[in-house]
């Protein structure tokens, strides 16, 4: 019983190890590290809420292979992201670039933050104006 339980426990621990990307790692560990960093930031456009690291769609496999090839051929990370954006658009990157088209994405959260600060300031100012009356406390 104990043996069975421990085997089951071990199996549960092993679940996250089922990786989609089953291809061989690059020889150069530095390139491999950059590769892993890049594939986590690229969206699989066929299956829109997965990165190409997690997806087993044809397209994700093709893009992983292409990124590997470009790394080996000495392209920089930026050149690889450029390559993807010129073909698939800003949506291909999970961390979209700052440009005219993505302006809204970057500006709106800041506007919300500013709006919140404005409301908070107003509340504080109003409370400050109230007479201090803590005699009953």
């Amino acid at each position: 019983m104990k043996a069975l339980l421990s085997v089951l426990t071990l199996l549960m621990l092993a679940l996250p190890a089922f990786a989609v990307d089953s291809e061989e790692a690059l020889d150069d560990p530095e390139l491999q590290a950059r590769y892993e960093d890049i594939v986590e930031q690229v969206r699989c456009l066929k299956c829109q809420n997965q990165t190409i690291k997690d997806s087993n769609a044809f397209l994700a496999g093709d893009l992983r292979r292409e990124i590997k090839r470009m790394l080996v051929e000495g392209y920089t990370d930026d050149e690889i992201f450029d390559f993807l954006v010129t073909r698939y658009g800003d949506f291909a990157l999970y961390n979209p670039r700052f440009s005219g088209k993505t302006l809204v994405l970057w500006i709106v959260p800041a506007l919300f933050l500013l709006g919140g600060a404005f409301v908070l300031l107003n509340i504080i100012r109003r409370r400050m104006a109230l007479p201090i009356d803590d005699a009953e406390d």
Partner: protein, 181 residues
């Protein structure tokens, strides 16, 4: 005063945003369709072996000087079977030459598909490993491009095509000679 109207305004904004999204779905728009950055850009060049004739190639050089349709298809793709009848009719009408990009497929299967269902393509390029597909920003077959006489990409459509969609999205970009239907 603004205190009373602010919630109303915020509600109105949310309503508008959600309404726009819901209208798209209700009208049957393909909500997975993404704008292609290739529109109005020069079509990426390629030259690949032909699906049907192993000794010939099909490529962007064949398109030169006339508007053409490039249809990305595969035998495993359900939508491609759906639109196949339309492509046959379009090819028959002779309005625009239809070229194929056989994406992520095998040559024998692709040949069998065309023999069985008919071949609407002037030529079909064989892109077995999807390398040319990446240059064209292909992310799911079927996809259909309209390439102008000057070699720029005018339209990209995702999903099965039919006559109503053709008239709505493609015909406005064609000259009077090609837009007879």
């Amino acid at each position: 005063m603004w205190k009373y109207f602010a919630p109303l305004v915020i509600f109105g904004l949310f309503f508008l945003v959600l309404k726009v999204g819901m209208d798209d779905i209700r009208e049957g728009k393909n909500v997975n369709e993404l704008p292609s950055p290739l529109i109005d850009k020069q079509a990426p060049q390629f030259e690949l072996p032909s699906v049907t004739d192993p000794s010939a190639t099909v490529g962007t050089n064949d398109f030169a000087g006339k508007p053409v349709v490039l249809n990305v298809w595969a035998t495993w793709c359900v939508g491609c079977r759906q639109e196949h009848g339309f492509l046959m009719e379009l090819a028959e009408s002779g309005d625009v030459p239809v070229y194929g990009l056989n994406w992520r497929d095998t040559q024998p299967e692709a040949q069998g598909f065309l023999q069985q269902l008919g071949d609407p393509y002037v030529g079909s390029a064989f892109d077995g490993d999807g390398r040319v597909g990446i240059d064209w920003g292909v992310y799911g077959a079927p996809e259909t491009f309209l390439i102008g006489a000057d070699g720029t990409i005018l339209v990209k459509h995702l999903g099965p095509l039919n006559w109503p969609l053709w008239r709505e999205k493609f015909v406005p970009h064609l000259g009077p000679a090609e837009a007879s239907r």
